[in-house]
Symmetry: D2
Subunit: 340 residues, 4 copies
Amino acid sequence: MIVVMKTDATMAEISNVIKSLESMGLKPHPTRGADRTIVGVVDAKRRSDLTHLGSAPGVEQVIPIAKAYKLVSREFHPDNTVIKVNGVDVGGAAFVVMAGPCAVEGQEQVISAAHAVKKSGARILRGGAFKPRTSPYSFQGLGEEGLRILLAAKKETGLPIVTEVISPQLVPLVSEYDDILQVGARNMQNFALLEAVGSVRKPVLLKRGMMSTVEELLMSAEYILSNGNQQVILCERGIRTFEKATRNTLDISAVPVIKRNSHLPIIVDPSHAAGHTEFVPSMALAAVAAGADGIIVEVHPSPETAWCDGVQSLSFDIFNQMMDGVRRVADAVGRPMAEN
Amino acid sequence: MIVVMKTDATMAEISNVIKSLESMGLKPHPTRGADRTIVGVVDAKRRSDLTHLGSAPGVEQVIPIAKAYKLVSREFHPDNTVIKVNGVDVGGAAFVVMAGPCAVEGQEQVISAAHAVKKSGARILRGGAFKPRTSPYSFQGLGEEGLRILLAAKKETGLPIVTEVISPQLVPLVSEYDDILQVGARNMQNFALLEAVGSVRKPVLLKRGMMSTVEELLMSAEYILSNGNQQVILCERGIRTFEKATRNTLDISAVPVIKRNSHLPIIVDPSHAAGHTEFVPSMALAAVAAGADGIIVEVHPSPETAWCDGVQSLSFDIFNQMMDGVRRVADAVGRPMAEN
Amino acid sequence: MIVVMKTDATMAEISNVIKSLESMGLKPHPTRGADRTIVGVVDAKRRSDLTHLGSAPGVEQVIPIAKAYKLVSREFHPDNTVIKVNGVDVGGAAFVVMAGPCAVEGQEQVISAAHAVKKSGARILRGGAFKPRTSPYSFQGLGEEGLRILLAAKKETGLPIVTEVISPQLVPLVSEYDDILQVGARNMQNFALLEAVGSVRKPVLLKRGMMSTVEELLMSAEYILSNGNQQVILCERGIRTFEKATRNTLDISAVPVIKRNSHLPIIVDPSHAAGHTEFVPSMALAAVAAGADGIIVEVHPSPETAWCDGVQSLSFDIFNQMMDGVRRVADAVGRPMAEN
Amino acid sequence: MIVVMKTDATMAEISNVIKSLESMGLKPHPTRGADRTIVGVVDAKRRSDLTHLGSAPGVEQVIPIAKAYKLVSREFHPDNTVIKVNGVDVGGAAFVVMAGPCAVEGQEQVISAAHAVKKSGARILRGGAFKPRTSPYSFQGLGEEGLRILLAAKKETGLPIVTEVISPQLVPLVSEYDDILQVGARNMQNFALLEAVGSVRKPVLLKRGMMSTVEELLMSAEYILSNGNQQVILCERGIRTFEKATRNTLDISAVPVIKRNSHLPIIVDPSHAAGHTEFVPSMALAAVAAGADGIIVEVHPSPETAWCDGVQSLSFDIFNQMMDGVRRVADAVGRPMAEN
């Protein structure tokens, strides 16, 4: 942390800052220049709450230089973390595809989708039983009935399942059924939920909030790890910007940024990023090329009649065609897909 | 809702869309022009899930024209809603100021702050007992002990209290102590929490998410009202933009936009918007002038030593000075403050 | 400037950075801590091009601490600059209103608008003769004929005029007619134009780009001052964000931020920020309350038939009514309007 | 265009809108529903200036449905446009790489870079002679001397050159030397410059403004085409968002969005998007995979000593290594690179 004093800060103000830091057990290093004084704190201790010094007299700004996260950082854990999901490695040598419908609508829909995506090369089945919806009047999901349907599809196809959990109370119930607990974008900073999924021993898929920085995503993952659960898969799913040609703006650079700063696997959701079927395949290919560990894609037997997100869901045919491209690009970047 | 067909849509595709709409019990009105066909649905029925039509063959886009919210809309309820909080009217004739520390740190701190803000003209005391924090290593609040301290301050000063509730399970506990349940910005789309506060009979202060549009804020309020609780105070607290000179960007235009579209009161939080003490007073004055029903301001006996948000908290002196300005501008716009 | 070394930087890498800085004539101050080393440069010299050090081995980041601008800074020139425009002081004791149509459409339109805005209390007439338009097929302005009309209106009402100049070649022509040269938002970083208006001796109204930070606005003003023209009026006109309820998002906090960092006057354009007539008055009042030195407002005899920006232009009646509010709030904040 | 009337619009207000549209020679189609009336105009005529109807009594909003651009649209010109640059096809079957230093610093620097990038597979040389800089105190480029150096490098290596032109007056001079005229991000809406490059017969590389929508980019290209120059290459170079981990946020989805809506070639600049060397290669690969026609990359003999953008420039070695990946992914997506 560096405290930058104002150019007209008095000696008393500078001393005051130094004393404050010392009183917190820190070791301040002042540097006096012709223009101004800066006070550095370059010890290993992580203190996230020193920003109040910004209101001390004579202080211009306080600049943090240490990362606020630790357990998720690559410095702390240099090797990539590989998450084992019922025989599927996420973050390992192979590129992994998760696919399935936005919402569980019924058994036939889910099972036909499970067979189709498996045939095309997906290794994990997605599907929502509890849906967080902007409108109280939208379809909110089938609930536990939806979980049962997902489990039936898993039994039939062998695909592990990932499904969203939307409140701390639901964590035990959803954990009984699924293989990966998904925390959705709107809940990325629902800290009670992060603590709840941090207390189970099950992989968590943590989606980036649509207006959260990469650093905040990593801080939210830190909540989960610091509660004892080390199995976190991060997911970039587009951020909110001024551009409205797509539903969100896929921040493809988040992939290498996260790879540099964290050991956790990072996958991409091209469906929510693009928001329209026809842009999903090229976003999926970009994700592979950028170095993502996998993708999660919305696929539906009949997108035109889907109860939610139909406009961004792929039909079986288009998904299958896209997977050919994914396979070729995965080979090109040295991350060939494992076969089912 | 208007379905805009592509310029090269076939007659069969157009018929298909019309049949789909009819099968949903809607009455489509096609308009065929030289350039393309559009199909309008202009009945009163509100259907929020027609966007999947966007993936039907020949469709270019689906444009919603009816508002997705109803109970919170001014069309539905033309008169301003006034929320009664223990003798203080929010949304009534008088401009209302809520003030107090970011976090409850101890009894002395809160009680001294309560006396100070009351003396300067604040009518409601704020203070956080449960704090949602980006980092798991930051101070998370005193919990129920904090609620007891707030209650003690209320008893001594007579000021009603507003404090944040961060998960559905805490709603009953927090409701025992406070007068207004605050839903924080990060929880604006925590739908489980919205339903929980919608089920109590107590005013709710709903803060706009830093990533949320005004329309989404109103949809979140709709969750609360549709669960039975009509007493919602909206709060603009700054949105996230590319500009980093302030912590957030105060979207002051949200005030007239909300006044036009909703009957609910709207207040402004200049502290979180500005993020730095010296910019808070001018943002507060702007809020009054723009037509807000009140403001909520962070005030601390000693900002330099505050456990959180010190850099944006006002000292008693600066708050008192700011309140002179607030009073003058409130008079100028015909919303004089009520005296304690 | 502070060079933050990586935690695993070698002694050789640190020495290398120090030598590089010394070779540029700078005096580096290294601070070695338990965690890492930082190297500070705290001399008065302003060097804006040291960021390439960020690619030197062992360097994590380079943090600038000195402001990149100088002539426009309050440190350099502590007192407010007052711009004298034909008898009207901008940035002085009185709040100043500029008003008039978006585009000059004809003599009758401009002269009737000039009389109306003068009567309501405006002191400067605005009107566009050269219009930068997103579409090549939109009305591009009357050109020199428009300038002649503005001059006629000035002669009849005595109001000085402000009009936009859109390319360096037009600066001499426009300067012959107007009293303030406006550089529009899209041209804020048109450096050839900034140099051209920096070479004349005439006040410049510099609008903030919709994509520009306050710091970039000040850097653009620095171009003008460093070319010899000290008379710059800054203008906040809304920035582009994810929120689409208004045309732009008025960054009202830019007013106090600029007041803190610069001595130049700052005015607000509520018309382009709001983008819709009904939100303009409350944005105008907010600007007064926030401490702006003035506003610039679009007013048209008949907004419904305006050739551009009709949807955000005020009729004479609404403008007149708004001015009553502006006057009251200006009084409340101690910046009473001067009478014509 | 669709005019959406308010739910309480009177018959007179509706008639008034219909008459207004008819008086403009348009054919309005009103649709009266239970909830409200909408008035559609679905003729082929493109009118970009009907938005003023938004201020007519009883009107809620005006929704444009036709694209505002024409010449650049795929509807108007279904086949891809291929730009021929001295023997290199941009937008053709092969993926094209442009590379070279940010700024021309001297003959040796440019010629060594030209040889190096050619050897690695680049087909066009980039380099800036006129630099638009945020600060007036930054290096502004070597000017015509820089153009002469680029020409020398072209003569020695046979690589065509692309260089930026920053004002209309410089268009004739720069055209004498270069093969592609670059319009930079900050000048994307410098309409005088767009008209100037629209009047020459030379390919133009038009960079997207950092806060411009794809639609605005296409409108700016429309300026060039409507002035007679059909040879425009579009370039996505990152947009400004709240995320600061990278210099800009590469909007990779702009590639398929532009491919859908326009026939013009689209390339990607991963250097300015990423802003840091280590993120450039994965962004480059993502661009290939997403379907871009090419990339433009900053390469420097010695990034640590570069006069500008050193932190995002690749060394020869890293560029060469990246090109191996580009080649493999280009093969995977069926766009193999042509050999020099």
